[in-house]
Subunit: 216 residues, 2 copies
């Protein structure tokens, strides 16, 4: 089986948003957007990521843990790594995740403002690339050495890869809240939508996990 490009771990509201309205520095996930992620920090894996103990096991925890299994590289949009916009003022910003980020593999950050690679503890190196999404994907597959590549978000990055018909699998978590506006995951998907079929639906008490796979 060839390695896949997979979206895993995108939390979407019932009305289709992965961030609420009025995103900004004070509200990186928009108004109400943090409610999309509360369930993550109820799980054991989610709590471990923040250094906390305890947490639930089961469907939701398996899902979060699965985001770190079987991937050899990650691609993300530039806004996922931090709040800095435009040219990097210096090399001070090193991501949200501390000195030892949870990736432990190469992470390709799509940006119009390249900067030198940033090697972190634990095997994570951030590469800042300005080569277009296809070339970045090739680099990520090379770096993954036969494992899958995770498409980490945000929504606009996911949409670009979907529209280019490059996403093999899409595993999203539907959070049953209404945000009323914000950044839509599936906006302007058009005919690319016909490529996908649902291969799994699993609901916990709080979240519904849907896995879509490309069938052509």
């Amino acid at each position: 089986m060839s390695p896949k490009l997979r979206v895993h771990g995108v939390a979407m509201s019932l009305d289709g948003f992965v961030a609420g309205p009025d995103q900004g520095l004070d509200n990186p996930l928009g108004v109400g957007g943090t409610r999309l992620h509360e369930w993550i920090f109820e799980t054991r894996t989610g709590r471990e990521m923040t250094g906390a103990e305890g947490g639930t096991t089961g469907i939701d925890d398996d899902y979060i843990a699965g985001g770190f299994l079987g991937f050899g590289a990650t691609i993300m949009g530039r806004n996922m790594i931090g709040p800095v916009r435009g040219p990097w003022p210096d090399d001070d910003w090193r991501g949200w995740w501390g000195t030892n980020p949870p990736f432990h593999h190469p992470v390709f950050v799509l940006t119009h403002h390249p900067r030198p690679p940033m090697e972190m503890e634990g095997g994570t190196t951030f590469y800042f690339v300005d080569d277009g999404i296809e070339s970045t994907l090739e680099q990520a597959f090379d770096a993954a050495g036969g494992a899958d590549v995770r498409l980490g978000g945000g929504a606009s990055t996911v949409r670009q890869y979907l529209q280019a018909r490059l996403v093999d699998e899409l595993h999203i978590a539907i959070v049953p809240i209404l945000l009323g506006g914000g950044e839509g995951l599936f906006e302007n998907l058009g005919s690319a939508s016909a490529d996908y079929e649902c291969v799994e639906v699993l609901s916990s008490q709080v979240v519904t996990h849907v896995r879509m796979a490309r069938t052509r």
Copy 2:
């Protein structure tokens, strides 16, 4: 407990559409839109509605059957009753449902083109009203005699009542398909979205049932 206005039985795609793109006479549910309803005709109640036998029982069937329980009146948009647009050419069109429609109670059809009430077999009478959504709701509650009123769709009718903050409960079925465009259920909901909380999530093998209730 006061009677409620409840949405029940709206099937929505994963990307938020209750009808696919390019709706028209040949395609009343838009391209791909009939896929939203295939699961209904797998259930026992769904099959009964079409005169067929057999079908599944369980979560999906309970849900479809629930659409006919506890309601004393229904409100629907004019496009739900048939494909005729504009002024009624005559009284020939009597709905999609044959001589004995499955409502068995008064049905209020929102229209800019009133026509005399249409009494059917089995207790269903269609009333064609042009009084605005609030007045229609009052009439429906009166007619329901203490039972709940069902808001039967389509999407634009549901949105109007949601925006006017008149919907008490919303039970939708998420069908895990992507339509890529069409009529969105939750478009332009705005701040009304903050009124709702999820009170139940149930997934069958094929559909996820989400029940939202107004909390303020």
